[in-house]
Each structure stands twice: as C-alpha cells, then as structure tokens.
C-alpha cells in the first residue's frame, strides 16, 4: 500500500497544472452541491425543526371571543388531549418600539400552560410585571432586543423579556407584527378579569395520528361557538412546503447539474490521463503489477486531490449559501439547521471525493485488461476505425462530391470543431452540461428581473395605470384631456375585514366603469365582475376564506356597514398577499361613502410621465406614481434574489469550467496534432483559432439548447410552480439572452486564450513524441 501512495504522490508532483485543474473542478462541483444542500436542507427540514423547537401545537382553533368558562368544558371533553392552552388574540393593535410602529399589530394574551412558540433569546414574561415577548421578525426589523421597551395600545414602556419564533405563520414584515403578554401579569396590574374572554386555543394531542377524530369531535361540540376555524400543524407545513417547493425544485435541479458536471468532466479527464499513461501502465503490467495495483494507484492519486478539494468546495458552498439561506429561513419564521447540516455536508464531501476516485480507477482497471505490449504501443482504450468511422468517412466523401470539389477545405477553426466532434459522447455530455447551465442562468435572470419588477413595476401586479392624482371624481374629464393621457377614472379604495372570520384587513378597490382598463390582475377562475352584487377576489383571500366562484363574501367596512357580494372570479394578485377585492364603485360607495378617492391615470404608449405629472399639478393635484412594491415581502424577495445571484454565479463558473475542461482535454488528447500544426508554422494565433473552433462547436449549440430549454421547459415549469403566488412570465427576453451569449463568448475567449497559452508553451518535439 505504501508503494501505491508513493507512486500516487510522485505522479501528482509531475503534473501539477493538470492536478490544479482537476482540483478546481472537484471544488466547484462540491461548492454547487453544498450550496444546494445548505439551502435545500434548511428549507426541507426547517418547518419540522422549528415546530419541534417551538412546541407548535397540533391544532390551533380560533373562534369569536367567548368567556373561558363557556369553552373550557368542551375542550377538556375532547379525546386524546395531551395539553391545551387558551389565549386571546387581539388584532389591529397599535404597536410601537425601536422608532417603528404599526397599527395592524397582533397581541396574544397568554393563559397559563404551554406556549406554542420557541424562545430564541431571553425568558418567558413575568406573571407579576407586564412584559412582552416579541416575534423575531419584529425584533429584527425594529431593532429590538431583550431589555428594549415596546408600547402596546396605551401600555407604554413594556420591557421585552424574550424574542420568540413561531412557525405557525411567516415572520414580520411578511406577516403582521406579533407580541405576547401574559394574562396573569395583566391581572396583577389591572385586577382580576373574572371570567376572561378567549378566542383561541392551542391543542396538543397524545397521538397526532388521531387528529381527524379530534377535529370531528371538536366540530360536533362547537354549537354556540361562532366563527370556528382550525389551523393544523400539518396544514401549516403543507402551505410552507408549497412555497419552499419552488426553491427546493430549483436547488435539486442545480445539484443534479453539479453531479452530472462533476462526473462527466472528471471521468473525461481521468480517461484522458489514463490514455496518456498507457505506455507506463503497460510497462508496470509487463513487470508484474496486478490490475488492482494499477487501479488503486490511480484511485489513490485521485483521492489525494479530491479529498482536500472537495472539502474546500463544500466549505466555499457553505460560505456562499449560509447567509442568504439563514435570512430566507428567518423570513418564514424557521430556524437554521445548525449542526444537523453536518451529515448532509459530509455526504456531499464523500460524493464529490468518491466520484473522481471511481472515475479514475475505472478506466485504469479497464485499460489494464489489455495485453501489456498493446499498452506499451499506446493503443487507444477503444479500438479506432470500425463501422462508425467508415460511415463517417463515406459521409465525408459524399459531402465532398456535393460540394463539387475533391475535398472540403478545412480552416483551423473547422478543424478544431472536428476535433471536439470526434469525441461524440463527451461532446454530448459537455453540451448537456453547458446547455442546462445556460438554461438555468437564463431562468435565474428571468426570475431576478421578475422579482425586481414585483418591487418596481406596477404592471406585474396587474396595474395598468401609471399615476394617481389626488383629485375628486368630477375632475376625471379634465384629466382625460391632458396630452399623453390614454384614460382616467375615479379609483376608490377602502380597508375592510371579513364579517365572519378574518382578523386581517382586506383591500377593497372599485372603479367607475370597467376596472380592467386600470387594474387587471390575471383571472385564475370564473369571470370578471358584472354588476353591483359581484366581486373579484384575490387568490390570497380566496385561500384564507376558502372562497370559490359563486361563494358569498361579506365584508365589514370602516363605517361599520356590511356589504355582501357573490364571488364572480378569482384573480392572481400579490398586492397585500392577494387579500384584495374588486367591486363596483356603486356598491362600495353605498356601504362606505367616505372611501378614499383618487383619479387613476393611464398614459399613452411613449408618453412622458413627468409631462403628465406637470399637467396634473396644473390642475391642482399631486401625482403619485403607481407602485408595484410588495412592501411586506421585500425581505423575502431580497433573500431570494441573493440566493438566485449566488446560484447564477456558481452556474457561470460551471460553464467556464466545462469550457476550459473540454478545451484542455481536446488539447491534451490532440497535442500531437497541435504540435504538427506548430511544426508547419502555426503560432499562438493559429492554435487560438483551432481552439476557438473547438469552443464554438460547444458554445453555439449549447447556447441554442439552453435558450430553447429555458423557453419551453424550465420557464413554463417554474411558472406553473409559482402559479399559486403570481402570474410570472419566465421566458428570458432578448436582453437576458444577449447578456448570457455575450458572457458565454467572453468565457469562451478566456478559456481559449488560457488553454492556447498552455498548449504553445509545451516544446513541439516533446508533444510530437507524446
């Protein structure tokens, strides 16, 4: 064994450049795999981990507030109950802290018993003094920490005793800000509440498999309890997994690319190395070395390179992905995996080290099967010629006859293309790797531009107007007459709540006339609203309330009046998480005469926004550009964009590596051909041309393949995955395709120059002998 290691180390010292390239490839593959693993594992296991740490209940039941005594008996009668905990959830509470405030806060007044959240810092609130536990998203966004103070609806200067995480909802600012107080402390300060009112209970079951039975029993005994609805632990998990599924699908695909790339490139490199060493292998076989010895020596060489390179790559992948992954998990109220990630990362390391070892040992084992004398003559691993070669020659002759000459005149670049084409399996594999990488880079760019559009482009939210003007409805006609204005109409907006169950606000939007002229989020099902009794509801609202086409919808407006509608259609909207309703202006004004009024202004194509704004100013109004900002989702979007960028950078490096490796292998295998060319008078430029042809033979079809793959497979697949959240147009545009092609061309030029310099540095005589 010692001999094998000594041989391996000697072999590596003799070819440092090639070893460095192989190490770079292994490190890159490992980095891709680790990046995907860090984010994928974090998301895949995040909910279970956080739910366990937070002691998340199996069921959360919410209902209209009732005295505790009325509910207690029904809860204790439920079967299989391990524990329960009551709370009073107060919504639309004014919260203030760290210089920030919100009037949509949720205060959870906790009873004794289990909490259903995990403490990241600090301790539980005191039962004597009123203290608050703050949800970690609020703490992060508002800069709060243990010991800070918050104001809760008149209760000023409450000390923050702890920072919590609760995976039953996403974190602030994706969700409303949430703080926890204890009833005991409030009673200590304000006196006993008597029979306190509660509107939520958390239930822990002895056997979560009995969940359905418990729910059936709970519903059966809910007579007299209004607005009852259940959120189950499994239901929350499914919702979060659906959202994370998009990212995980992307990362699994990325891991597959990483593995294919690593396997193809390293196997090709190992094969070329074995080919170069055939004579040496032949000599060793001739003097009695066993086949196992030959294969082990090759494997040992690969292991010496792969183990540290794989570790380096895994480390780099963790460094690249850990930050964005942690931010993403924080935004959805999940905990980072911490030490649990060690196992998957070790598996990544083992995989990225194991593949090169196998890829090196296998061709050596195969080669050593041949007679030593054939090996010493440098026989190819696979016999040349044969039927396929004869077919190619016949095809070449036929092409020459068609061309009317006695042969196709080769240019150096055409020769380069032919040299690459001679290894058809490798060419196909390289094309596949590059094509898929290009497709993914295009997808990343398309996704990134869609994400930034969500923040800045109102049209992605279905808004077709560009400006709003603070003018009365009567001014609409005057606005329409302004140059550059295509359409203008009064727009009314009010905030309402669902009459039955939803504690959160709903945006109610109305126009005089056809609202789709100004706002037309994509219709998922049903039809556009017709008449004062109909409404179009956003997908977020439809999901929360379980609405479908034809369902009744009752909303309570700030005036206290109730408006009832029938759902005509469901639309895809990201505005206010899809909690939006479009109704007719007449219906809204009838229930809420003081609804906010503006003029929505749609510009003519090419019209100047600033010129129209000046015109509106002249009418006495201030113009406001329509915003596309998904304000509450900004954190999530930024985290996702960071991940996309990291993935795109690693993907770009893979392209570069695949190109360099393809050219290096071609140059290595055809060193004699390059030497002959140089002997005939070709300089660095000639060799560059040859390699440029080889690079073009790979890059051009890969770019076409990648663009087609993105447009017809990946883009539509990703858009389908995201359909529940937004209507995304994920076909890369001309600008993105141009950027990717230019980038590929640049990478190809860099690869050609680098490999050409290497190839021309080798003495011609040595290369001819090789």
């Amino acid at each position: 064994m010692k001999v094998i290691w000594r041989e391996a180390i000697g072999g590596l010292r003799r070819r440092r450049g090639r070893v460095a390239l192989s190490a770079a490839g292994i490190a890159l593959g490992a980095a891709m795999l680790a990046t995907a693993t860090v984010v994928g594992f974090g998301l895949q296991t995040g909910f279970q981990r956080s739910a366990h740490a937070a002691d998340l209940p199996d069921v959360i039941a919410r209902f209209d507030a009732e005295p505790l005594s009325k509910v207690l008996g029904r809860i204790t009668a439920l079967p299989d109950l391990a524990a329960y905990s009551f709370r009073l959830e107060l919504t639309n509470v004014h919260l203030r802290g760290g210089g920030h405030s919100s009037s949509q806060g949720v205060v959870e007044v906790l009873d004794s018993g289990r909490r259903g959240y995990g403490l990241l810092e600090g301790r539980e609130p005191s039962t004597h003094n009123v203290e608050a536990v703050v949800e970690q998203g609020v703490a992060r966004s508002w800069g709060l920490h243990v010991g800070s103070s918050v104001d809760v609806n008149g209760l000023e200067g409450l000390r923050v005793s702890g920072i919590s995480v609760s995976p039953d909802d996403v974190a602030y600012p994706l969700a409303v800000p949430r703080v926890y107080l204890t009833r005991a402390a409030l009673e200590a300060r304000f006196g006993p509440f008597g029979d306190p009112r509660v509107n939520a209970v958390e239930l822990w079951l002895r056997n979560p498999g009995q969940l359905n039975t418990v729910l059936v029993q709970a519903r059966a005994s809910s007579y007299g309890i209004e607005g009852l609805r259940f959120v189950t632990r499994e239901g929350v998990r499914v919702l979060i997994d659906q959202a994370a599924g998009i990212v995980i699908a992307l990362l699994v695909a990325l891991s597959v690319i990483a593995l294919i790339t690593a396997t193809v490139m390293l196997a090709a490199s190992a094969r070329a190395e074995v080919q170069r060493r055939l004579a040496g292998i032949g000599v060793r076989r001739a003097i009695g070395a066993s086949r196992a010895h030959i294969a082990l020596a090759q494997a040992a060489e690969a292991a010496i390179v792969a183990l540290p390179a794989g570790a380096l790559g895994v480390g780099a992948g963790v460094l690249i992905a850990a930050g964005p992954s942690e931010r993403l998990l924080e935004t959805i109220n999940e905990l980072p995996p911490g030490g649990a990630l060690a196992g998957p990362l070790l598996a990544c390391w083992a995989l990225t080290a194991g593949i090169p070892v196998l890829a090196s040992a296998w061709p050596a084992l195969r080669a050593s099967r041949r007679p030593p004398i054939a090996l010493m003559r440098g026989a190819e691993l696979r016999a040349r010629g044969g039927r396929s070669s004869a077919r190619r020659a016949a095809a070449r002759r036929a092409a020459a006859r068609v061309a009317g000459g006695r042969g196709l005149l080769p240019s150096l670049s055409l020769l380069g293309a032919r040299l690459v084409g001679a290894r058809r399996v490798r060419l196909a594999a390289t094309l596949a790797v590059l094509g898929v990488s290009v497709a993914f880079i295009l997808l990343m760019l398309a996704l990134a531009s869609e994400l930034s559009a969500l923040e800045s482009d109102p049209s992605t939210l279905g808004k077709r107007y560009q400006l709003t003007a603070s003018l009365p409805a009567a001014a609409a006609a005057g606005v329409r007459r302004l140059p550059g204005v295509a359409a203008a109409a009064p727009r009314y907006e009010a905030q309402a709540i669902d009459s039955f169950s939803l504690g959160e606000t709903i945006d109610v939007v109305a126009y005089r006339g056809d609202h789709t002229v100004f706002e037309a989020p994509p219709l998922v099902s049903g039809s556009r609203l017709r008449g004062a009794r109909q409404a179009e509801v956003g997908n977020g609202l439809a999901q929360v309330l379980g609405l479908s086409v034809g369902s009744p919808l009752a909303i309570e407006l700030p005036s206290g009046r109730e408006a009832r509608f029938q759902v005509a259609g469901i639309v895809n909207s990201l505005q206010h998480d899809g909690r939006i309703v479009y109704v007719s202006a007449a219906a809204l004004l009838a229930a809420e005469p003081t609804a906010g009024e503006q003029i929505a202004v749609r510009l003519q194509p090419g019209a100047s926004e600033s010129a129209v704004s000046a015109g509106l100013k002249a009418l006495g109004a201030s113009a406001t550009p329509a915003s596309g900002a998904v304000g509450q989702g900004r954190g999530l979007i930024e985290a996702l964009t960071a991940i996309l960028r990291a993935v795109a950078i690693v993907d770009g490096l893979v392209c570069f590596y695949a190109l360099v490796q393809a050219l290096v292998l071609t140059a290595r295998e055809r060193r004699a051909t390059i030497a002959v060319l140089r002997a005939c008078g070709a300089g660095v430029r000639g060799v560059c041309l040859l390699l440029a042809g080889a690079a073009a033979a790979v890059v051009v079809p890969a770019a076409v393949l990648g663009a087609l793959l993105e447009r017809f497979v990946l883009g539509p697949a990703m858009a389908r995955l995201a359909i529940g959240y937004a209507s995304l147009e994920l076909a890369a545009g001309p600008a993105e395709v141009t950027v990717v092609i230019a980038g590929l061309a640049l990478l190809a030029c860099a690869a050609v120059l680098w490999v050409a310099r290497r190839a021309t540095r080798e003495p011609i005589v040595e290369a001819l002998g090789g």
Partner: protein
C-alpha cells in the same frame, strides 16, 4: 559534393549550421547530445544523416527545423537565423522555409488526405495559391484517387505521400525528413526515396536522418553522426 542543380542555382547555401551544441536533461543527468555540429547544405542537395539510435540525429533535425533551439551555435535557413530570433519569427521560418516529414506521418486523423495537405495553406502568412499547389502535388504524387480518404483508410505509402505533399505545399527551401522510410515496406521505401530525389530536382535541399545504410546510400552526401559530431 554539391549537385548539378545546386551548381546551376549558384551554390547558394540553403542551410548552414556552425558549432551547434545541445544537451538534454538537467544537473547530473545532463548529457550533451550534439557537441559542436557543423553543417552546410546547398540547394538541390539530398543529404542523409546516418547514425545509431540515440546518436542525436533526430535532435539535430529538430534544431535544423526550428522545432527546438540549440544551447549554442548558429543555424541559418535560407538566410534566416533560427537562433537569434523571436518565437514569432521562428514560426514564420517554419511556415515558409521548412517542410517536415515525420516518421509516423502525423496526419490529422479527422481530416482526409487532401485536407491534411491543405492544412499549412490555411495558416496566417502562408503563401497564396495553396489550394492549386496542393491539388497539383496530390496529382503529382499519384494519390488523387484516395485524396478524400481518411488516414486510417490509407496504406503506409499513401500516408507518407500525403505527408510529403503537406511538407511541400508552402514551397519550403529545405525539406527535413525524420526516418521517412521507418514505417514503410521495401517497395514503398524505394518509391519514397525516388520522390525525395525528385525534390532536389526542383531546387530544394533535403535532409533525411536514418539508421539504415541502404536508405542513406540514395543520398548525394552521407554524414555519419557519432559522439555528438558529424563525420
């Protein structure tokens, strides 16, 4: 002795080498392969360098062809020095002044015979009219019927003819042949020697290295290589 054609062309020296020294290996393992070689070859002359294996004849040929550089001494081909010139200039000399015929032919396996011949004409700086010259050479060497065959479909003699056509296609002043008959049977070898002889009739200087006395006997002049020197 200079040939009749050489005399007719005015005894212009096609290749001139003085005090060429070349060592291989480093440190203690260093070995002087060429130890002050002097050589002058005129246009239209066929010279054979004879020697045993490892005597340094191939090394000499590589230095004369600008494929390698000597440690000391001077080499001039058709007035161009191969020693005190840049890599770019050396490349240009190889392109326009020197044609190389290798023992193992070194045809590019993806290209047909004709395409192999055309290859040097596609290099930047190659003299114009390469396509016509290539076709003429292929006709002249009698390999037109197999011009569109790939190398592995050709016999050894045919491959060597294409290799010679490739060496000649840019009209070099000097043709250098390394064991040109090494991979040929006796009939093909005799044909090849006739071809090389024919080149001298066109005014080209031909230097071939061989270890076979029979082959060397076909040359105008035979120089024997021993202990790093030409005798």
């Amino acid at each position: 002795m200079p040939t009749a054609v050489g005399r007719y062309l005015g005894n212009v020296s096609a290749l001139h080498a003085r005090g060429v020294i070349k060592s291989v290996g480093r440190g203690r393992a260093s070995r002087r392969v060429l130890d002050g070689v002097d050589l002058e070859i005129e246009q239209g002359e066929l010279v054979a360098v004879l020697g045993r294996s490892g005597s340094g004849k191939s090394t000499l040929l590589h230095l004369l062809g600008g494929l390698d550089r000597p440690d000391a001494g001077s080499i001039v081909v058709a007035g161009d020095s191969l020693v005190e010139c840049s890599e770019r200039a050396l490349t240009r000399v190889r392109l326009r002044r020197i044609g190389f015929v290798f023992q193992s032919f070194q045809l590019v396996e993806e290209l047909t015979g004709e395409e192999n011949v055309l290859l040097p004409t596609r290099l930047a700086g190659a003299p114009s009219g390469g396509t016509e010259r290539a076709r003429a050479l292929i006709d002249e060497l009698g390999v037109s019927p197999v011009a569109d065959h790939l190398p592995h479909e050709l016999s050894g003699g045919e491959q060597q003819r294409f290799a010679i056509a490739r060496a000649l296609v840019n009209e070099p002043t000097v043709v250098l042949a390394d064991e040109p008959t090494g991979n040929l049977d006796s009939t093909a070898a005799a044909d090849l020697l006739g071809l090389l002889r024919g080149l001298t009739g066109l005014g080209r200087a031909v230097v071939m290295v061989t270890h076979e006395h029979d082959v060397a006997a076909a040359a105008d002049r035979v120089l024997e290589m021993a202990d790093g020197r030409l005798g």
